[in-house]
């Protein structure tokens, strides 16, 4: 015998109340005002004859009716009549989503996160399926649902092993994308068996405010997937971060400025920043104190120490969480580029190509260009100096100097040829094999760029439709060229009459570029167009390697490797001094797994670049769980196995009671008792009246 709502049994207490009221002493019913109490003495309360019970049977009947009603409301049922097996709980598919972002390195967060995951695993039933996901700025499937799903014990061991090997990374947190992806995985079961199982997502994270949740905004959360959030909090929540403010216009002499941001739940407010080097040689002589209230940020000037001008990192002191206290900086260094110009033009002659070329390549903050003008046949560089990165050829090459020029290109130099006239074009056949030069056309009809190969590094920055319009550049004077197929020459751009405009040929480790028309105003409008300067910059990048793109990056960001003329393999040396080699054609480097100074080496050039933590990762104040709910995530409470068992049992009890419906019979009995009671009361009253009349 069980009761569904035992609370109603409290109604039984009501039965005793009339009895109680009847038996306790009578309190005075009213009040009598009187002029003066000076002659009155208080009387002790009297017990009257009403304390006696006259009609015991009637009282019992009424009490019985009340009892039956209370019992009916309590909804009893007979448990013995249908013993349902209670052993097996419904099968669940549990996805454990573990935060491995950089902020999890704080204090003992990671240890506790692993322990929490262990607790979740302990609470799983023998039929439950489990998968382990780790997330930072990307989601990593550690153990899939599909992995050995028919051997639960083995799978549990596998999950535990993988869990033990996981470590927090240096990456930022994209909570929204991870939740959405795992919810989709849970909502789309692979087979029928999985479809019956209850999906269940367990999120173990420090839920920092710096987590990105924007992916959830456009995501329709599957309602059958509940999320149990285990939010981990740290005892010492003070966390500040340091960042160097980038300033394009700042010169080397200016004092760099540093921003220190303090998390909103921080306790500490006083911090110190100073420069240091990798070998910690820089002393604390430039330590700058800074006061930052919680939730705010301050900017302070931090001059580089004179004793260590090569300091490449800023260190923050006074903060409990160490993971984001170092900011790596690579000072942008001006690249010195030597360029040789082979031509007869004067530097101040606006009719010649040199005048425009010089102006296009000067004034760049990151490059210091040294242009040396000479004639063909003179040596390209002084003895003991490196050969120039780029050589511009603007006159015909006589026979004896051809070999020297070819060896310059094949050893890694870059040659830019601007065709001036037919004799010059013909003298270049040694560089561009099979080049057939037609007549110089100077008809009244101008040409435009027809087709451009935007996949070539030279035009790649113009690939976007916003910049790809070259149709306003008119070419009046051009050399008609014909390239035989299979000659190792690549056409980068064509005129609209399908004659090549720009061609490229790779020779050895270097390359040669040829413009079929000059850019000076007598030949074309190219020098006066907005495309000229970026185009020349790209040529310089091709010749000397890309400089500015290597300034700084955040962990996990992809870095574009410098495009280089030479074809030597690229080596990236990470902060742990590990060498990672890539082919020369590799364009991107994505193994920026930890903060620090990386160095790219290709050929003899070595380019350092700094990788720092994402600034959002430093915002470690806890995120309200309710915010997830606002984004549509269905939150659930953590329910242990025994609690689930109890809930299941109650549900079965409800079903049993619903089937038996004993309460109806109890109501019928109560009504019957009340009818009998009414009859008895009437009969008693009649008898008393008759007796009284007889007596009268």
């Amino acid at each position: 015998m069980g009761l569904l709502s035992a609370v109603y049994l409290a109604g039984l207490a009501a039965v005793s109340l009339p009895l109680l009221f009847h038996l306790i002493r009578r309190t005075p019913r009213g009040k009598q005002t009187f002029s003066s109490l000076m002659f009155l003495t208080p009387s002790p309360p009297r017990v009257t004859r009403r304390s006696r019970l006259d009609h015991l049977l009637l009282l019992l009947l009424r009490a019985a009716a009340l009892c039956l009603l209370a019992l009916a409301f309590a909804r009893p049922f007979l448990r013995e009549s249908a013993l349902l097996p209670l052993a097996d709980l419904p099968r669940r598919r549990v996805a454990i989503l573990l935060d491995t972002s950089a902020s999890m390195q704080r204090g003992d967060l990671w240890k506790r996160a692993v322990a929490q995951a262990g607790d979740v695993l302990d609470d799983l039933g023998p039929t439950d399926d489990v998968a382990l996901f780790a997330f930072n700025d990307r989601l990593q499937t550690v153990v899939d649902f599909a992995a050995s799903s028919n051997a639960p014990a083995a799978k549990m061991d596998l999950v535990r092993r993988e869990l033990a090997q996981l470590k927090p990374s240096w990456r930022s947190t994209d909570l929204g994308a991870a939740l959405a992806a795992v919810a989709n995985e849970l909502d789309a079961p692979s087979n029928d068996e999985a479809a019956i199982a209850e999906p269940h997502l367990v999120l173990i994270s420090d839920l920092q405010q710096g987590s990105r949740t924007d992916a959830l905004q456009a995501f329709s959360w599957p309602q059958r997937v509940p999320v149990v959030v285990h939010a981990l909090a740290i005892e010492q929540p003070t966390n500040a971060s340091v960042h160097l403010l980038a300033d394009e216009t700042e010169s080397e002499s200016a004092e760099p400025r540093v921003r220190v941001a303090n998390a909103s739940d921080s306790v500490g407010e006083e911090f110190y920043v100073h420069w240091t080097t990798s070998d910690k040689s820089a002393t604390d002589d430039t330590m700058v104190p800074i006061y930052v209230p919680p939730g705010q940020s301050r900017v302070v000037r931090l001059p580089r120490p004179k004793s260590a001008p090569m300091a490449d990192r800023i260190v923050l002191r006074g903060d409990a969480a160490e993971f984001d206290n170092v900011h790596y900086v690579v000072a942008p260094r001006q690249q010195e580029v030597a360029i040789a110009y082979l031509g007869a033009e004067q530097a101040d002659d606006p009719q010649g190509p040199r005048y425009y070329f010089e102006r296009a390549i000067s004034g760049m903050p990151l490059r210091k260009v040294d242009l040396r003008a000479s004639r063909v046949g003179e040596p390209l560089s002084l003895p003991g100096e490196k050969p120039p990165k780029l050589t511009v050829l603007a006159e015909a090459v006589p026979e004896p100097t051809r070999e020297a020029l070819e060896s310059y290109v094949s050893s890694g130099g870059m040659l830019l040829v601007v065709l001036k006239d037919r004799p010059m074009a013909e003298s270049l056949a040694f560089l561009f094999e099979g080049l057939v030069v037609g007549d110089e056309t100077e008809s009244g009809e101008y040409q435009l760029f027809g087709e451009i190969d935007f996949t070539h590094p030279l035009f790649a920055p113009f690939a976007s439709p916003r910049y790809s319009d070259f149709t306003k550049i008119h070419f009046w004077k051009r050399r008609s060229l014909t390239i035989p197929p299979g000659a190792g020459t690549r056409v980068i751009a064509w005129f609209d009459n399908h004659e090549p405009a720009i061609i490229e040929r790779t020779i050895g480790a270097g390359r040669a570029l040829l413009f079929a028309s000059g850019w000076q105003p007598s030949d074309s409008q190219l020098a006066l167009s907005t495309k000229f300067v970026p185009l020349m910059q790209e040529i310089l990048d091709l010749a000397c390697g890309r400089q500015d793109s290597l300034a700084s990056a955040t962990v996990g960001q992809t870095i574009s490797l410098p495009q280089q003329a030479s074809l030597q393999p690229i080596v990236v040396i990470n902060p742990q001094d590990e060498r990672i080699e890539f082919a020369a054609t590799t364009e991107n480097f994505d193994q920026t797994d930890q903060p620090g100074i990386y160095r790219v080496r290709s050929g003899d050039a070595g380019l350092p670049f700094a990788v720092n933590l994402d600034a959002a990762e430093s915002n470690t104040a806890p995120l309200e769980v309710a915010q997830l709910e606002q984004l549509g995530v269905r939150l659930a409470k953590s329910v242990s196995r025994s609690e689930r068992r109890l809930e299941q049992r109650q549900q079965r009890d409800r079903e049993l009671e619903n089937r038996q419906k004993i309460w109806r019979w109890l109501i019928v009995a109560a009504v019957a008792v009340l009818i009998f009671e009414t009859w008895l009361a009437g009969w008693t009253a009649r008898r008393i009246r008759q007796t009284t009349e007889a007596l009268a």
Binding site: R29, G30, Q32, T33, S35, T41, S43
Partner: protein
């Protein structure tokens, strides 16, 4: 102190109060009287009914006091010839009257909250006000000066004794005010009268006198302190006199708000004992002080109250006259 003795004597000779209780049907029932809103009208009803019951005109010779007889000589007004004395002694005597003086009467009405009790549908205060209005009306009819003091724990209304047009109306208005005070204190009103009433007069205190007897006696002593003549009218509800409650209930003191659980059946005997003790203590104090004391149960017709009062005044007047005559006679003998 001289009062309008001749009229009082005449009233006493009709003796309507001897069998007043049996004839009470001819008087106005107090419950019916209290239904009249206007206090002045109530007083008028009582007084005029009372006077018409005497079958005498009330408008002759009320304010002169009989002094002595003298022998009739020719030319004397025959109206003042005492025919009865002539019948007894066969000699003509003329009644001599004393110089006309106005009576100064102060009505002290207790309007404390204990007077708010009433078991008959109206309170003791209503009854007391009506009694005071009746006296005031009656006295003003015979051109006497009437003053009014209403009080609870302090003086609420004070009107000096005057006889002038409109004064009676002001007295009536002064009586209209409702009950407010929480306690009864006779001290301040009596002090006030002692200060203002230089000439001697009659002071009528209308109260339930439900206060500890010790303080009452001192305060009643003030009444006589300046040689004023004093009368105390105790207005009591029948329920206070008989304690006719049945149900055991919480009794609440109207003045202090104190509550007491009392079973009347058990407490009645003790109450009546203590009440009688208190009443006799008051009576003793009054007789010691020479104060007339009247009991005014609120179910008693007011005419009877008025009659009792006048009757007692009459008797006192007669005693005074006798004492004066004896004194004069003694003086003559001593002189002769």
């Amino acid at each position: 102190m001289r009062t309008s003795g001749s009229q009082l004597r005449r009233l006493s000779e009709t003796r309507p109060a001897r069998n007043a209780e049996s004839q009470s049907a001819s008087f106005i029932d107090p419950a019916a009287l209290m239904r009249i809103e206007n206090l002045e009208l109530r007083a008028k009803s009582v007084v005029e009914g009372f006077l018409s019951g005497l079958h005498r005109s009330p408008y002759h010779g009320f304010s002169v006091e009989f002094s002595e007889y003298r022998q009739y000589s020719d030319g004397d007004d025959l109206r003042y010839l005492d025919w009865r004395l002539f019948a007894r002694s066969d000699r003509y005597y003329i009644k001599r009257f004393e110089e006309e003086t106005n009576l100064r009467c102060y009505l002290l009405v207790d309007l404390s909250r204990s007077m708010g009790f009433g078991s008959l549908g109206y309170s003791k205060a209503e009854y007391a006000k009506t009694a005071a209005a009746t006296f005031a009306y009656f006295l003003s009819l015979q051109r006497d000066a009437v003053g009014l003091v209403t009080f609870d724990e302090g003086i609420q209304e004070f009107l000096p004794a005057r006889f002038r047009p409109g004064h009676l109306h002001r007295v009536m208005l002064g009586l209209e005010r409702s009950l407010a005070g929480t306690a009864t204190d006779l001290g301040p009103p009596l002090e006030q009268i002692a200060k203002t009433a230089a000439k001697r007069g009659l002071i009528v205190l209308i109260s339930d006198l439900l206060a500890p007897i010790e303080s009452l006696e001192t305060q009643l002593g003030y009444l006589r302190s300046r040689g004023h003549e004093a009368a105390v009218m105790r207005v009591l509800d029948p329920a206070e006199i008989n304690f006719s409650f049945e149900e055991a209930v919480l009794f609440e003191d109207l003045e202090s708000g104190r509550e007491l659980y009392v079973d009347p059946q058990a407490a009645r005997r003790r109450y009546l004992e203590r009440f009688a003790e208190h009443s006799s203590a008051i009576s003793r104090a009054c007789s010691r002080l020479g104060i007339d004391e009247y009991l005014l149960p609120t179910d008693r017709p007011l005419e009877l109250a008025l009659f009792d009062f006048l009757n007692a005044r009459m008797r006192r007047g007669r005693q005074t006259a006798r004492r004066q005559r004896q004194a004069r006679r003694g003086g003559k003998q001593g002189g002769g």
